[in-house]
């Protein structure tokens, strides 16, 4: 179980966001997580369509207004729906999405430990 704890801690560290990237990096980071709605499977960052370019400008504007990353995501979500966010939020629609793989991992571990490994 120690091993699981370590994994969990690492997981938490990883999801913790540090706030010291400069403006340009931050804009890239945000636009990478936004879907270009008129493209086929491209992010706003990757696309050069008019839609994507106007969104990049909008992200810059919002950053200048002093909005945080999460606030910007929320702004776009309210405006265009959840489809635009590449990282789905954890809510009643996505509990299965986020938690099922981890659940499968735990079950798998239990099966292996129980049926194959000799206990001391």
């Amino acid at each position: 179980m120690n091993f699981l704890k370590v994994t969990l801690i690492i997981f938490l560290i990883f999801s913790f966001k540090f706030v010291n990237a400069d403006e340009q990096d931050k804009r890239n980071q945000i636009t990478k997580n936004l879907r270009c709605l008129i493209c086929q499977g491209q992010s706003v960052y990757d696309s050069d369509s008019e839609f994507a370019n106007s969104l990049k400008v909008l992200v810059d504007k919002k950053l200048n207004e002093g909005l945080s990353e999460d606030q910007i995501y929320k702004y776009f979500k309210d405006k265009y729906g959840e489809w635009i966010l590449y990282e789905p939020e954890l809510n009643k629609n996505t509990y299965i999405l986020w938690l099922l793989p981890v659940f499968i991992f735990l079950i798998g571990g239990a099966i292996i430990a129980k049926s194959f490994i000799i206990k001391k």
Binding site: F3, T7, D48, E82, P101, F116
Partner: protein
């Protein structure tokens, strides 16, 4: 015209050969001392007919026979010959014909090369394979015939999508399919062996060759697709967690799991149920991929024109196959419950189980991430996107113990062992952590997680390098593959962390200058080719250390169909790639310029080649 006729009738003959094979197999199965020579003949004939059919389609493309609907939709007289030929499989109908070609080729080779196995087993494998083949024949002829006739005959074709007109992409589908479809043999053979209750070490040794073949091709196929995405899609990434990429990654994960697991079965009869499930899963995932791509459910760059009838057919076919395999599994397979194997904690078996455990987790992340949005859309009609951040968050933390296990696992012996030279292993671990810390010292974003990640990848790197020296040729294939994997993870990490990018707007003659890099937009050339016109922009790059480079990205306007594409210019060196791409901005006289320096790019490709090279050595070693 004549080619279409030949191609069409060859398909029907191939289908008939399949039906005859069912009959012959049935007769031969009852008194099965020798394999009926007619079976081999008809298997060859079937393969032969599919080859003829395939060549007819290739010829139709070469001579631009627009009375053929597939050619009309996907070719044009001004295409270079190479892309006329590769256009054969750059579309739905042709790519399915290629599926069929590989299916029939593999079963023919299987019958030819399989010796020292019971005749009944060979026949049953053939029967299961024929089920798949006949299914695909019917699918092809009924819903996606590549030889549909058009009248009146059009003067000119509609052309091939320009982003598919590319050397890497021309060979990407055949290689990938050899891997995808190669797994069908594993599926058929596992079902046959289960029905005959002969899942044993002997079978494992025999089927491992086929697993290796599929695995090597699948690995290389994915690599080619990735290289293509890197330079053709034009924004410097190489893996986008695009649903269609995921769909090729899933069978790869299942196959890699199977490859590790089969090593246990090679030595003793255990884990049989698990191996059967994996064999079934690998091919089912390949089929699922075909279904998801061909039905057009997925939103992706790969989607060809498609219609719901095709998706429905594959879906039903898929369910039949899954149902059949589950039936055979539960009906015939008796698990070795009485002597359930148990492994000591420190043994190679356990480490392989842990590998399987993690691989299945990765597989479930990719699978759920890919199909969950579809389900949610159907159930609640709410649309969500699952993109890179999701996969990174769920996969990367688990990669750390996975990498450490990859380093230590192969050092353990079968059944029970003690970890030798612990001191070295600990020293190497400390060394790796120290080195990772030094590399990232001045880097402040996500410092902790990156240090841990790089430490564990470095650890695998050093442990495998050391093994090259102390273990020499013992387990060399495994060591190369694991070394390749550590190199892959390191290259991806460094590439991500140390890439730099400049995005700016420039007119001809203008210069961009920041403290480190100077970009001079020198001139613009125009070029006219047979199938496109292009604008070439010439840039000079000066970095602060005085190094100079010339880069000339292109904008192409293809004539058929009229689509504009950006062609990146890439200068590859051992340590880093310089990547530049331009775009036109509407109603403006400047170009949008993107310049990236991407360290260790070349090593990403090299490491994947190393990984598959490990597989190749394992395959060859068994022959010698």
């Amino acid at each position: 015209m004549i080619y279409s006729l030949i191609g069409h009738y060859s398909l029907i003959l191939g289908l008939i050969a399949g039906l005859v094979l069912f009959y012959l197999s049935f007769k031969n199965f009852k008194n099965s001392i020798f394999l009926n020579s007619k079976i081999l003949t008809f298997t060859f004939l079937q393969f032969f007919f599919v080859v003829i059919s395939f060549l007819s389609l290739v010829l139709s493309f070469i001579v631009s026979d627009f009375s053929n609907e597939t050619v009309f939709n996907n070719s044009h007289t001004t295409k270079p010959l190479f892309y006329k030929i590769s256009g054969t499989w750059g579309n739905h109908e042709g790519s399915l014909l290629l599926w069929l070609l590989v299916l029939t080729l593999f079963i023919f080779i299987f019958l030819l090369r399989t010796k020292n196995q019971p005749v009944k087993y060979k026949i049953l494998t053939l029967v299961f394979q024929q089920l798949i083949i006949v299914g695909f024949f019917i699918f092809l002829i009924k819903t996606s015939n590549p030889f549909n006739y058009l009248f009146p005959v059009p003067e000119e074709g509609l052309g091939l999508n320009p982003i598919l007109q590319d050397p890497a992409l021309a060979i990407h589908p055949p290689i990938l399919y050899l891997g995808y479809v190669g797994s069908s043999i594993i599926f058929s053979s596992a079902l046959a062996a289960t029905s005959l209750k002969m899942i044993s070490p002997n079978w494992a040794v025999h089927i491992k060759n086929w697993i290796l073949i599929s695995w090597i091709f699948l690995t290389l196929g994915i690599l080619l697709g990735s290289i293509w995405a890197y330079y053709e899609l034009g924004w410097g990434g190489f893996w986008f967690w695009d649903p269609v990429e995921n769909v090729s990654l899933m069978p790869w994960l299942a196959l890699t799991t199977l490859l590790h697991c089969i090593m246990v079965l090679e030595r003793k009869s255990s884990l049989t149920s698990w191996i059967i499930i994996l064999s079934i899963a690998t091919f089912t995932l390949s089929m699922c991929g075909t279904f998801l791509v061909r039905s057009g459910i997925l939103n992706s760059v790969h989607t060809f024109a498609n219609d719901p009838e095709r998706g429905l057919f594959i879906l039903i076919f898929l369910f039949v196959l899954i149902f059949l395999s589950l039936f055979i599994f539960f009906f015939f397979h008796k698990d070795e419950k009485l002597n359930r194997p148990s492994f000591s904690f420190l043994s190679k078996e356990t480490s392989i189980l842990i590998n399987n455990w993690f691989m299945m987790y990765f597989l479930s992340v990719v699978l759920i991430g890919t199909i969950y949005p579809i389900f949610l859309d159907i159930i609640s009609s709410e649309k969500i996107s699952v993109g890179p951040p999701f996969y990174h968050k769920l996969i990367i933390p688990f990669l750390i113990p996975f990498l450490l296990m990859m380093a230590i696992g192969p050092k353990l012996k079968w059944i029970k062992s003690r970890l030798n030279d612990k001191i070295y292993l600990i020293l190497l671990l400390l060394g790796s952590i120290l080195l990772a810390f030094l590399i990232l010292k001045n880097f402040n974003q996500n410092f902790l997680i990156n240090t841990i990640l790089i430490s564990s990848a470095l650890y695998l790197f050093f442990v495998t390098i050391r093994d090259f020296f102390i273990r020499k040729f013992e387990n060399i294939s495994q060591n190369i593959a694991h070394f390749g994997f550590s190199l892959l993870i390191l290259s991806i990490l460094f590439n991500n962390l140390f890439s730099s990018e400049i995005i700016t707007n420039l007119k001809v003659g203008e210069t961009f200058d920041n403290s480190k890099t100077k970009i001079i937009f020198e001139s613009v050339d125009q070029k006219k080719e047979k199938n496109y016109d292009s604008i070439i922009a010439n840039f000079k790059i000066q970095s602060s250390n005085g190094k100079k480079d010339k880069l000339s990205p292109e904008l192409r306007i293809y004539n058929q169909p009229v689509i504009a594409t950006s062609e990146a210019d890439i200068k590859t060196t051992l340590m880093s790639d310089k990547f530049m791409v331009i775009n036109l901005v509407q109603n403006q006289d400047f170009f949008n310029v993107r310049y990236q320096v991407k360290p260790f790019m070349l090593w990403i490709w090299i490491s994947v080649i190393l990984i598959s090279f490990g597989g190749l050595i394992s395959f060859l070693k068994k022959r010698l």
